[in-house]
Amino acid sequence: MQLHLHIRVLVICAAVSGAVIVHAADSAQNASGASTHASQAVTIGITASGQAVLGVAAVPLLSVGAVGMSIGAGSVAAGRGSAAVASGVSNHDPLPITDQTITVNSPAEALKPRAGTAPR
């Protein structure tokens, strides 16, 4: 009799335990998804409202005099062009920046099923 009782409890626990596993997994999945969706929602809002422009490339602006340093060849080439933009700016002076807001996602891109990354 007591054994039957234990078996019943075991079955109930197994069922509940399994449910908790699923719940835990769902919760993690939802958290990740929610995080992604929240970020996307913000990005979509920003781009759709015309508050941001899509950035397609970014090249580090080397400070004056740093071009000749042993940096990757591609970056050196890019840096030479960039140095002209930065010329006249000393190493410690405030740097000019755009007033535009730049984002990586266009609305179309942001709405695609996402195989990208989760902000943490």
């Binding site: 075991l10 958290a31 992604t36 929240a38 809002g45 950035g55 580090p60 740097l95 990354t117």
Partner: protein, 265 residues
Amino acid sequence: MKTFFARFALSLLLLRWCFICQAASFSGSSAHAEAYFSSEQIIQFAKKVERKLAAEGARVAIVARMGRPLSEMPEGMHFTHVAFAVYSNITVADGTSVPGYAIYNLYQKDDKPSVSQLVQDFPVDFFAGVAQLEAGILIPSHELQQRLLEVNGSPTYASLHEPRYSLIANPYTLGRQNCTEFVLDVVNAAIYQTNDIKIIKANTKAYFKAQPVNVSPFKLMLGSMFSAEVTNTDQRGRAVTATFEKISEYLQTYDQGAKVLSLTP
């Protein structure tokens, strides 16, 4: 005898149930279905951070954000994500170029959180979805900024990336990496002007003070059992990890001229 086995099995199941509940709690996976802040708030805050970096003349800085409320963070940890902000010439969709900051991140993959990738985005993307509008900013000395630019533009940058991710990666060891450890590895590659990971780790061990993970070993064990993004395989003894605060302490100790700022709206 049968009763003994039944009781034993029952205990195991209850213990397993307890493990699962603990693990779920440890992973802190509370779902936030809505964004914490409006797009206007994010835009304004991201631009404020950019303007601060520019006003400081920072060509390279280390920035940190709060992806979770502070109340959910373990003791001694404040920020959840750290990356490099690099002053850049940015080409926008219409072909024009504008000066601003690009962010160089190590992000977990959405569909496989135990794996990371290197991703470049912009401040508004970086701060989208944060739980609190607060940024940590660490501006290295001019000399270190120059060296970081060299590493950033060289193959060393990508070579330092370890895609096997752990939320609590040990900065002294190889095999697992999180965003903070990656930033620290790049910083040390720049300081020592090397791409040799053994030299980088030897110096990290000698000079960098990691943050103990103030979570009970029991919870860590559960986390590693039930969460793909948590493992203690790279830990020896008490778990430690790198944080924005510890990297700030490190540079303020050894990089004369390094500056730490905190920015809120």
